[in-house]
């Protein structure tokens, strides 16, 4: 079975987000009432697995092993079957 996962890696709360702060500053310069901007990275992964549960386990493993650094990153994902 083929699955498609959408993994979002974002900065943990409390960590400085220089990219987000700079973006927020410019958006304010452009006239928007922006409070904060957070920058995340999205990975779209297609993978083969025997079940949705297995696909989710594999994606979890990918996040822990490569996609996120637990020092500073939080991650979340959704997995759906590709028909």
């Amino acid at each position: 079975m083929m699955f498609k996962a959408r993994v979002e890696v974002s900065l943990k709360k409390g960590h400085t987000d220089p990219e987000g702060e700079t973006t927020a500053k410019l958006l304010r310069e452009l006239g928007y009432m922006v409070e904060t901007v957070g920058v995340s990275k999205v990975f779209t992964v297609t993978l083969k697995a025997n079940s949705k549960a297995e696909a989710e386990n594999l994606v979890e493993e990918m996040c822990r092993r490569l996609l996120a650094n637990p020092t500073k990153d939080d991650y979340s994902y959704t997995v759906e079957e590709v028909k």
Binding site: K12, K13, G14, H15, T16, D17, P18, E19, E21, T22, R64, R65, L66, L67, N69, P70, T71, K72
Partner: protein, 283 residues
């Protein structure tokens, strides 16, 4: 995994084999090679794919270097892809290498790789997941400038044992992901551990050695506690963001045309010299 350092035999300087690894995106390998060669050692630049095919190259060398650059285009996070690739393909060889007390140097991107590999800070041995991170600079952007770093180590780091404590070195940085951080909730505990274990090696400082206290541009990236370089608990792995290979010769110094009397070498030489002196020792 805990590292147990075994007795290391002495190596003659002219026989010392330094293996400088490279991948796509590495761009400081040649300068690093020249620095070691200038000091009388043998230094070879080898692509990681060659090393994976001939794993014995690791055990046959006396020192390993992860040079600066942008390995794999800094994709995912700077250093992450190379780090996980090494752990998957050469993890056992690296552990054995470290167990023999042999040194590993990581410069800039090499430092990022060592942290992502879990080889630094490695508070309880090589960690499965990174215990620290080199995050996006604050203020953001690529920062290429000469900085001052203060030597803070009390003698644990084998690369800097010959450098006076509190000595100030002038070496340039060139990176956009160099802000050294610990997990926010464990920041102080990790710093305490780093200091207790004599793992703090360099901090960004002013010309006269005052800590930067986070102030830009003395601290060029917003690093926690102005950290510029750390070593592992055994002192055999050093990672630092500044580029010693770019401060090796007098003609690399930014003010050489304005000085009447010039040193023969820049401060960066001391890092390479320290590694070779360690190789020459038996313990």
């Amino acid at each position: 995994m805990e590292i147990r350092v075994r007795g290391k035999p002495a190596v003659k300087r002219e026989e010392a084999r330094v293996l400088i690894m490279r991948v796509g995106g590495t761009n400081c390998d040649k300068e690093t090679q020249r620095a070691f060669q200038d000091l009388g050692a043998q230094a070879h630049v080898v692509h990681i794919n060659q090393i994976v095919k001939k794993k014995h190259m690791i055990s046959e060398c006396d020192a390993l270097v992860f040079p600066g650059g942008f390995s794999y285009g800094d994709y995912v996070r700077a250093g992450a892809i190379w780090a996980k690739w090494i752990v998957a393909k050469l993890g056992n060889e690296i552990k054995r290498f470290l167990g023999e007390g042999k040194p590993i140097l990581g410069i800039c991107n090499g430092f990022q790789v060592l942290v992502e590999m879990g080889v630094l800070p490695a508070f309880h041995g090589i960690s499965e997941f990174p215990e620290a991170a080199l995050a996006t600079n604050s203020p953001p952007g690529y920062n290429c400038r000469w900085v001052y770093i203060r030597h803070e180590n009390r003698g644990n780091c084998v690369f800097t044992q010959h450098i006076d404590r509190n000595a100030v070195l002038r070496i340039p940085v060139a990176h956009s992901e160099g802000r050294f951080i610990f997990p926010k909730e464990k920041e102080n505990a990790c710093l305490e551990k780093l200091l207790e274990g004599d793992q703090l090696v360099f901090r960004y400082c002013s010309q006269n050695g005052e800590p930067a206290e986070g102030a830009y541009p003395v601290n060029p990236n917003g690093s926690f506690y102005d950290i510029a370089g750390i070593c592992n608990p055994e002192g055999t792995v050093l990672g630092l963001m500044p580029h010693p290979e770019r401060a090796f010769y007098w003609w690399q110094l930014p003010d050489w045309t304005r000085k009447m009397v010039l040193p023969q070498y820049g401060d960066g030489k001391q890092i390479f010299e320290g590694m070779l002196r360690y190789l020459e020792k038996k313990f």
